[in-house]
Symmetry: C2
Subunit: 607 residues, 2 copies
């Protein structure tokens, strides 16, 4: 039986036939790599994910982590899986040799990641949070801090978290009130007090220690906290101190989620006096980077985490699609509308056009979403290791523009793919005896964490579309027009005609996006410009994924003239996207162009 | 605190200001009724639903029914709630006085129902399945069968089920293989053998007996079953026989669902020999109506059940909306984009345009959906008790046309409302500590049962749009045009201008539906006509709900000139629907008009 995690042929198509990952091996950082080492990493990932992550995905949903008031218990399969992940060196897959890493390009690392998330989003989260934490520290911590905290994380002995939100400050980080005051006993050390909410992996016994990265404010001379984001600093607050003492961090409770249940999600109280390290209450913390730069430093992690969220949403959609496809091929039910002889055998449901519609939609969503995420990862590689400063700057700008879309589009449409996977299964899909309902529950998280859907609308329209005098939007436009041009010179016969038609549709849609962006910024009132930012996010996201699809279709036509079924599958999914999905942006762009104020005008009292 | 089940003012607006339910009291069947008796019924419903159904909604999700191999245990709160429902006479709310009923119009009965489903879909299902069962028997059973089986159901002592699907025949009822052979010992009695899947309320100890209505085939003289639907007959198969013997029905297992967990959902084996009534295996069954008419008889129930499913989906969306509204008013978070002074107090999130967008969308979906369901119920009343044969025929035709939409549209958009209710709550909404995630899980069922979404697309386009030479579609068109005309003569000033603009948009959209329907039927191949039937269902559904909204807006303008906030809320939600939702049908109708074959052309091998 083929893997139901991901279609390996498709992953390799994206890496090699489309994104040309082999060319990355020509860069100094990746000089030891080749298609063979990439393939070996994918083999390892697929094997460990299949054998150790997927088998307990349902079990850890059914037997979610439990807090008895003193300890959190997690089923033992989780630790076994994560230990194997670390033992294979995957915690440091992308890191420097000097840190024990493999120096894999991020493009390949994300494809490796994809297998684990598809197999078990909850268990793999512990690893990916740790990697994100380590990467943040690598950007802004001192050498001593890297040696002390990062190294054990990359070895998989310690795990990491990100502590941003607070009960009174979810999306609004400027309102956090956790305070970090200088420790009167130990110069240079801080004592952290406050409550942090929604901390994934905030407590467990899967690792020897937990390295919390905590946003907190250092009080001024008057003892008051500075309002706004300027007062925010970043601290390392470990669960255990060097002398083995328990730090003053108390688990106040676990949140019980609809899905993604296997990841503990915690309310943590820092400095409430539950433990008394050094004989005094207050969680011992170490400042990372400069005071007041906490949010900036954390954003290094957040951009990476956002690609990670998009990727998770994409591959949960992807595995659901493969489950639905297998079911649709095996389940006999009904007959064609025009051939209803009831004594004829029933057809496999994939023979019904409406079922094919649901499968094709899933294919278009999940291969489009995975493509978007791997494309973004490729941009990260280019930003860091591109051959010229121009390549690096260009990649950085594109990445900045695409990040809110890479996070949000898969979160919306990967979930819709899971919704359709349930529908293909009929009643069976609604039961916990099958897998797809869990994917749907797990995936619902992704529109909420790492910035809600609406926050990314504000990021895209309110920031990315306008900063640097619109330079990001301009770079995006150049890339899209280059693809349009290239598509018009690719393939022959029917393939060429199809690509040409899509190129024209994409060109027209993007022109409209540019006009609409101008119209929005022509409004005199910022509240009006931003009122429908979520619609902007969704419309631009659809146009961007149309562009991703055109690139995939071109690669299939150019590189795989002989691989008929695979090429035609890509072309048909691309056709689906252009016929069924891209036209949806027209009413969205009309609404934006009209500066519609329906929601802005709505009054509380009228609800 | 206002009820979070439904907005009572809105329910009364729909019944009295819009649908003119008081006028029903002028008809002989409802002569004892008046606004006072309707209001008393609503009061009773709201009270029992609030006090006995809502409080255990979460508990019965957490402690779902359990089968130990011998008995099914259900938390005791379920029986207490259902007993109170029966004691209030609500099992027979719409039934004849002669049967102990109240003879409430269905319009009002459905508003009563709405409270119970909003409070607890799972528990109330037991009651509504029983009522549906009773109504089926009242249509086609003998007087003796009615006395024997219906009366105890309407008293709430016995409960009922519908047994249609089988493991090998879900949506394709022509393929059922349950057989009912004449009992060799008792003339006129049958022995039923076969497996029935997805039987809601199929086993429990909430009632003294369970009356299963079972579709089965009577073997021909050659012992074979007739292929297709013509061979299907309807049988009563009770759990206990008159002499107290247990019938030969065995619970093979419970399905464990994502949501709606409180309703047992069973695989039942009839006639496997677990019990031996009269000393012999085979479940004792009684033929209802004529042999071979089973599906026709069951369809009486199914049309009613479909309005019920739509209503459930609508009110789960509705209660979720009220939860989100309350949360958005109470939760402070963030500031306006143009006023970001971080030392200013945080705003309640309802002040954010994107949150208002999500609330307004929910309002538009759930009040549109509830309106559609109550309008359909009003059509049932008119079909049965309308003043003239013309009124009755006209109502019957509209109802036939609308039924697939009344089932499907709320199932799709009520779920989307629940999705948005989670989003408004942010991370809290994703936890089981809050209520909205359960509504979302519960509501996902409604696109699957009582005919999947796709089946209703085939029903609407393949049957309803064409039968009787298109008479149903023509009647629908006349109603819509009458509303358009009336809207152009309603209100003054800004209200009048708004209604006029909506009327023009509705008129144009409906014209397009007519053209597209013709284009679809002009295709020479039925498979091509029906290929995109689901898109047709969704597009026509949106146009129909735009029509429902225009009616509500007109009623608000005409009847409530002084009730400013309520009227403006209706007008703004209507504006939302016309500005944000109705335009979505354009690309759908374009796709249909082009007879797009993307999904039809897709080949299995290309996936």
């Amino acid at each position: 039986m083929a893997s139901r995690l991901l279609n390996r042929r498709d992953v390799e198509f994206m890496l090699y036939d489309w994104l040309d990952a082999e060319r990355l091996a020509g860069r100094p950082r990746f000089a030891d790599h080749s298609r063979e080492t990439f393939t070996a990493a994918l083999d390892t990932a697929e094997q460990i994910a299949s054998e150790l992550f997927a088998p307990h995905n349902k079990l850890s949903d059914q037997q979610e982590p439990h807090f008895d008031g003193a300890r959190v218990s997690v089923i033992p399969e989780v630790k076994r899986a994560l230990d194997a992940f670390s033992a294979a060196g995957l915690m440091a897959a992308g890191h420097d040799y000097a840190l024990g890493g493999m120096q894999l390009p991020l493009t390949v690392e994300k494809a490796v990641t994809a297998y684990f998330t598809a197999a078990n989003m909850a268990t793999s989260s512990y690893a990916f949070l740790t990697i994100g934490n380590a990467n943040t520290l690598l950007k802004c911590a001192s050498t001593a801090q890297v040696e002390h905290f990062v190294r054990p994380m990359l070895e998989g002995r310690w795990f990491g978290t990100m502590c941003l939100s607070e009960p009174q400050a979810g999306s609004s980080l400027s309102d956090i009130s956790t305070r970090a005051a200088p420790d009167p006993d130990v110069p240079g050390q801080y004592r952290v007090c406050g409550n942090k909410m929604w901390i994934s992996g905030g407590e467990h016994e899967l690792a020897e220690n937990i390295v919390h990265l905590v946003l907190a404010k250092i009080p001024g001379a008057d003892g008051k906290l500075v309002a706004g984001v300027k007062g925010i600093s970043l601290f390392i607050v470990p669960k255990f101190l060097d002398n083995g003492e328990r730090n003053d961090i108390a688990l106040a409770g676990l949140n019980h989620k609809m899905g993604n249940r296997g990841t503990t999600n915690c309310l943590l109280n820092f400095g409430e006096g539950r433990h008394l390290p050094g004989g005094r209450s207050g969680a011992v913390g170490y400042l990372v980077g400069r005071a007041g730069q906490g949010l900036l430093n954390m954003f290094h992690m957040m951009n990476e985490a956002r690609i990670g969220v998009g990727l998770a949403a994409a591959v949960l959609g992807y595995t659901g699609y493969l489950h639905a496809l297998e079911y649709a091929r095996e389940r006999p039910q009904g007959r064609h509308p025009a051939a209803k002889d009831p004594s004829s055998p029933q057809l496999p449901i994939i023979a019904h056009t409406d079922v094919r519609r649901m499968l094709l939609a899933q294919k278009a969503y999940v291969e489009g979403a995975l493509g978007l995420c791997l494309y973004s990862a490729r941009l990260v590689d280019d930003e860091h290791t591109g051959e010229t400063p121009e390549v690096r700057q260009r990649a950085g700008r594109l990445l900045e523009f695409l990040t809110p879309i890479t996070k949000s589009w898969p979160s919306q449409w990967g979930l819709e793919a899971n919704n359709l996977a349930i529908q293909v299964h009929g009643g069976y899909g609604y039961t916990r005896e099958y897998n797809v309902e869990q994917f749907y529950r797990d995936n619902r998280l992704n529109q909420i964490h790492e910035g809600t859907h609406g926050i990314h609308g504000l990021d895209l329209l309110g920031r990315k579309a306008s900063i640097h005098d619109g330079a990001l939007l301009k770079t995006m436009a150049e890339e899209i027009r280059a693809t349009v041009q290239a598509a018009r010179n690719t393939g022959r016969g029917a393939d060429a005609r199809q690509l040409d038609a899509h190129a024209s549709a994409l060109d027209a849609a993007w022109c409209r996006v540019e006009q609409v962006t101008q119209a929005l910024y022509a409004a005199s009132d910022l509240n009006q410009t931003l009122a429908n930012a979520t619609v902007y996010l969704e419309a631009v996201g659809h146009v961007v994924v149309a562009w991703i699809w055109l690139q995939q279709a071109m690669a299939a036509v150019a590189k795989l003239p002989e691989e008929d079924s695979f090429r035609r599958g890509k072309l048909q999914a691309c056709r689906y996207f252009y016929q069924w999905e891209l036209p949806k942006v027209q009413p969205q762009l009309d609404l934006l162009a009209a500066l519609d104020t329906t929601t802005l005008d709505m009054q509380d009292a009228w609800f």
